[in-house]
C-alpha cells in the first residue's frame, strides 16, 4: 500500500500493474502517478498497452495484479478515443451533456461558450464533425469539474490545424480548472512542449521523465526512430506557422508514419 503521507498532491497512482490477455503479457509491473496540476503523456507504439493501462487506471478493467490508488474524493473527467452514436438514437449536444446528471443550463452554456461550441447546442450529435465532436467530449469531461482529466488520443480524427488548437485548448482548460492530465497521444510534436512528464510504454515502461530527456533516451529512439526526435525538434522551433487564406498550412513532409 502506498504511503498516504507522501501522496498529498498525488491524484492517482498505479503500482505494479500487470495484466495478460490469454497468453500475451500486455502490461508488466507498471508504476506511474499523476500529480495535481501536472500533465503526463503516455506514448508508445500501437499495441503497447496504452489504452489497457488507461482503462485499468479508470477502473474499467481489473488488472491481474497491482493496485490503483486514488486520492480520496477524486473526480475524473474522461475523454474517450471516439464516440460512436447509435443512428437510431436522436440526441442533441445539449442533451448529451446533460447525461452527466448536470442540469444547470447556465454552467453548460458557460462551458460551451468557453470551448466555442455553443452554436452546436441544439444540433444532433450525429451531425457534429470530428473536431467539434472532440470539443463536445471535452466539454462533457469538464462539466463535472474533475481534478483529473484522462484523455485517450484526444486529437484523433481531427485535421492538422485543429489538432494544435485542440491541445492548446485542453492545456488551457486544465490550467483554468487546475486539474491534472493523463493522456495518450501519438502527436508527440504537439504535446511535448506542454507535457511535464512523458511515459514511454511498450508493455513495460521503457523510459520516463521530462520530454527533453525522453526524446534523447536510447529506449525512446529505439521505439520511434531518430526521425521522431527530429519531429519534435522541428516542431518545437516552429510554433508560429501561418495559414494562407484557405487555411492550408505548409508543413515539412514527414517520413515516419507509424500511426
Amino acid at each position: 500500500m502506498p504511503n498516504p503521507a507522501i501522496s498529498e498532491n498525488v491524484l492517482i497512482r498505479a503500482s505494479h500493474i500487470s495484466i495478460q490477455f490469454e497468453d500475451r503479457q500486455i502490461l508488466q509491473d507498471i508504476n506511474m502517478q499523476v500529480n495535481q496540476g501536472s500533465i503526463v503523456t503516455l506514448i508508445g507504439p500501437n499495441g503497447a498497452g496504452k489504452t489497457t493501462l488507461v482503462r485499468i487506471i479508470l477502473g474499467l478493467l481489473q488488472p491481474d495484479s497491482g493496485t490503483v490508488w486514488k486520492a480520496p474524493g477524486l473526480k475524473i473527467g474522461y475523454m474517450p478515443q471516439r464516440l460512436q452514436i447509435e443512428p437510431n438514437l436522436p440526441i442533441t449536444v445539449k442533451r448529451f451533456l446533460m447525461l452527466t446528471g448536470i442540469k444547470d443550463a447556465r454552467a453548460i452554456q458557460e462551458l460551451l461558450d468557453e470551448l466555442r461550441i455553443s452554436h452546436l447546442k441544439d444540433q444532433q450529435l450525429r451531425n457534429v464533425s470530428g473536431g467539434e465532436l472532440q470539443r463536445v467530449l471535452l466539454c462533457r469531461a469538464l462539466l463535472r469539474r474533475p481534478s483529473l482529466m484522462i484523455l485517450d488520443e484526444p486529437a484523433q480524427g481531427v485535421d492538422v490545424t485543429g489538432q494544435a488548437e485542440l491541445y492548446q485548448l485542453i492545456v488551457r482548460m486544465a490550467q483554468q480548472y487546475s486539474c491534472g492530465i493523463l493522456m495518450i497521444s501519438h502527436d508527440l510534436h504537439l504535446v511535448m512542449s506542454a507535457t511535464d512528464e512523458v511515459v514511454c510504454l511498450n508493455h513495460h515502461i521503457c523510459c520516463h521523465g521530462k520530454p527533453e530527456h525522453v526524446s534523447t533516451d536510447p529506449a525512446y529512439l529505439d521505439l520511434f526512430g531518430v526521425n521522431a526526435m527530429n519531429d519534435i525538434a522541428v516542431y518545437t522551433h516552429n510554433h508560429n506557422h501561418s495559414h494562407d487564406i484557405t487555411g492550408n498550412v505548409v508543413t515539412e513532409s514527414r517520413e515516419t508514419d507509424d500511426g
Binding site: 474522461y78 474517450p80 464516440l83 447509435e86 438514437l89 436522436p90 448529451f96 447525461l99 446528471g101 462533457r140
Partner: protein, 265 residues
Amino acid sequence: MMADFILYALIAGLSLALVAGPLGSFVVWRRMSYFGDTLAHSALLGIALGILLNLNLQFSIIVICLIVAIFLIFLEKQKAVAIDTLLGILAHSTLAIGVVVLSISNTAQINLEAYLFGELLTIATWDLVWVVVASALIMAVLFLFWNQFLSVTVHEELASIEGVNVNRLRYLLIILMALITAVAMKIVGVLLITSLLIIPPAAARQVAKSPEQMAIIASALGCFSVVVGLFAAFRADTPVGPSIVVVATVTFFVLYFFSNSSQQN
C-alpha cells in the same frame, strides 16, 4: 355501451403500449431485438413448464425468462459461438421445446394459437390487474432511472466513470424485459412481442428529435395501433394481436416515407 371484454382488452392493450414505447426504444437503441425474441420465445417454454408443474403461468414465464436471460449474459462472455448465432439457437430451441413439452403434457384443450398470437379478447379480471400493475411498475422504474439508462446506452464507459452502476442497470433492464414479455404474452402472443417493442419506436425515430420525444411518440403510436387494431379486428373478425401489429407496421411505413420524402427538400 361497450362490452366488458372490449373495455378490458382496451385497457390491457393501452397499458402495454404505453410502456412498450420507452422500453422498446431501449431495445432499438441497444440493438436488443434478437435478445427480446429469445426471451419472448422462451416464454412459451415457461407456459409449458407452468402447465406441467401446475404453477402460476405469469410466474413461470418470468422465471424462465430470467433464467434464459442470465444464461445469455453468462454465455456472452464465451467466444466459441457468435452471439447472434447463439441467440438464434436459443430463440428457436426454446420455442420448439415449449411446443413439444406442451404437446406431451397431455392437458386437454390447450389452445396453442392463443399462446403464439395472444388472446386479448378473453382477458380475465385478474389478468387485467396483473397487466396494469406490471406495466405501472415497469414505467416507474424507467422513469426513475431514465437518465442513467440513457447514459449507459449512449456510452457505457463514460457513464461508468461518471458514477453510474452499469451492471445494476443491465440486470434491471433484463428484469424489465422479462416482465414485459410476461405481460405482452397475453396480448399479442409469443411470436409478436418483439414487434410491439420495436415497431412503434422505429416509427417514432423517423420524426423524433430527442430520446424523450422518441419514447413518447412511440407510446402514442403504440396506443393508436392498439385502438385501431382492436376495433378493426372486432369489425373484420380478425385475430387481435396480429391486427395491432399490422396497424403499427402501417404507421411505421407512413412515417418512414413521410419523413424521408420531406428530408429530400
